[in-house]
């Protein structure tokens, strides 16, 4: 009745239509069959997929992180090195600034004074804890003489006792063997400043009981010892003890110069003669 060709064409059209209907029907509602099939597939396949994907991701992350960590470690080392350099530079800058401040103080003091002075650096301290002296890096070749007074802007430091051409030994005023003729700035009461080998304490000896000395007074050099120029600050009175007997009072002073931090000093080169002072 129909030719073979017509039958094939008609069959193809029916299949296409049927396929379209089935697909349309599937989009609209999930059948229990498809759900069960999907669930089964997911149940068996997904764990494997998850494992494979996880492994791949793990490998990829590991690989990526390894290289990242290598880079980070390298960067970390570099940054640490830079940080250490920066810290060193900060420390150096801080040292330079402090040295600059100290030297500026010395220069200002030198400029304001009529005395001829030579700046020197402290290179060593007394090996014995019982005695107080320092070695400075200026000697006879720089005009330093035996007996030259040594000062800092804060006050008197000591006097040169030994010297070579390039170095000098300075006996500090806090040494027990040191004596500085001095007076109270406010009342002009005279006495002698002697050391106790303590960096923070000295004695203002031979101040008469009747003389007015009180805590807080400034002690200055009198210039009468022929060593230290007149008017240099020595220390501040910290305590005054007047006993019932005796002709002298006990006066403790705190030196103005910080002997613990002594690094640079000034040597007075034209110390006045005693005759010059008295005249």
């Amino acid at each position: 009745m129909f030719s073979k060709k017509t039958m094939v064409a008609a069959g193809a059209v029916i299949l296409i239509v049927l396929n379209g209907v089935v697909f349309s029907f599937n989009y609209i509602r999930q059948t229990s069959f498809t759900s069960a099939a999907a669930e089964t597939a997911l149940f068996f396949v997904s764990p494997v997929q998850a494992a494979v994907t996880g492994s791949i991701n793990f490998g990829r992350d590991l690989w990526g992180n390894y290289f990242y960590l290598v880079d980070a470690a390298k960067e970390n080392r570099e940054l640490r090195r830079k940080l250490a350099e920066a810290r060193l530079q900060i420390h150096e800058c801080s040292e330079i600034r402090q040295a600059n401040d100290r030297l500026k103080g010395l220069v200002d003091f030198k400029k304001d004074s009529d005395l001829s002075m030579q700046a020197a650096r402290v290179v060593a301290r007394d090996p014995s804890p019982w005695y107080r002296s320092v070695i400075i890096d200026k000697g006879s070749a720089d005009g330093v003489e035996k007996g030259s007074p040594v000062v800092v802007p804060d006050g008197v430091v000591g006097q040169v006792t030994e010297l070579s051409s390039g170095y000098a030994k300075v006996l500090l005023i806090i040494d027990r063997n040191s004596a500085v003729d001095a007076m109270v700035q406010r009342t002009r009461a005279r006495g002698v400043v002697s050391g106790l080998s303590s960096e923070s304490e000295s004695i203002f000896d031979f101040a008469l009981r009747k003389q007015n000395v009180r805590a807080g007074d400034t002690i200055i050099t009198s210039g009468l010892d022929g060593v230290y120029p007149k008017g240099l600050r020595v220390g501040r009175v910290s305590e005054v003890i007047r006993r019932n007997s005796g002709i002298f009072q006990e006066v403790e002073i705190m030196p103005y110069a910080d002997f613990h931090k002594l690094e640079e000093v000034l040597v007075v080169l034209n110390s006045p003669d005693i005759d010059e002072v008295l005249n």
């Binding site: 290179v123 060593a124 301290r125 007394d126 090996p127 014995s128 804890p129 019982w130 005695y131 107080r132 002296s133 070695i135 006792t161 030994e162 030994k169 006996l171 500090l172 040494d175 027990r176 063997n177 002697s194 106790l196 080998s197 303590s198 004695i203």
Partner: protein
């Protein structure tokens, strides 16, 4: 000659350490004179001909650098050197213990000499709490560091024989 030079370099090194490094350390580190243990070491291990010139030179250097009366270090080192020379034959204890003990005695002896010098030159009270504390700290540091100094000296001077073998 080279040996003497080496001894002198060691002594000067110790002098530099205690004049340029130790004084800038915190207050608690009030070290003693390192040349006293050196004198003790020389008295125990070295002949008279080695010890005398080296310690005399070291004493003079110290006297020149210090504000102390001239000759006080020289006296101390030579007394320590001469006085402790025969001790090893009388006392039967081990080397490092003997050395430590004698180093402590030497440091105390040095402080006594300095005290005598200070008392004679200054009428002020010497034995204050501060001065006693200073002596005690020195003794303490000697006890702590003497064994290390002993090892250091032995290593430097290469004396591995016992005192009796001298």
């Amino acid at each position: 000659m080279i040996r003497y030079l080496f001894y002198l370099i060691t002594a000067v090194f110790l002098v530099i350490v205690q004049t340029s490094i130790i004084p800038y350390m915190p207050g608690i580190l009030k070290f003693y004179d390192f040349l006293v243990p050196l004198a003790v070491y020389f008295s125990l291990y070295k002949p008279l001909s080695h010890g005398l010139p080296v310690l005399a030179a070291a004493g003079l250097v110290m006297d020149m650098l210090s504000g102390a009366p001239i000759g006080i270090y020289l006296t101390t080192y030579l007394w320590v050197f001469l006085a402790f020379r025969r001790v090893a034959r009388w006392v039967g204890i081990k080397d490092h213990l003997l050395f430590s003990m004698l180093a402590v005695l030497g440091v105390v002896f040095e402080n006594l000499i300095f005290s005598a010098a200070l008392i004679s030159s200054s009428p002020r009270v010497f034995f204050t709490l501060e001065s006693l504390e200073l002596i005690l700290l020195q003794v303490l540091w000697t006890v702590v560091t003497a064994p290390f100094l002993w090892l250091g000296f032995r290593y430097c001077f290469g004396d591995y024989g016992r005192i009796e073998a001298r």
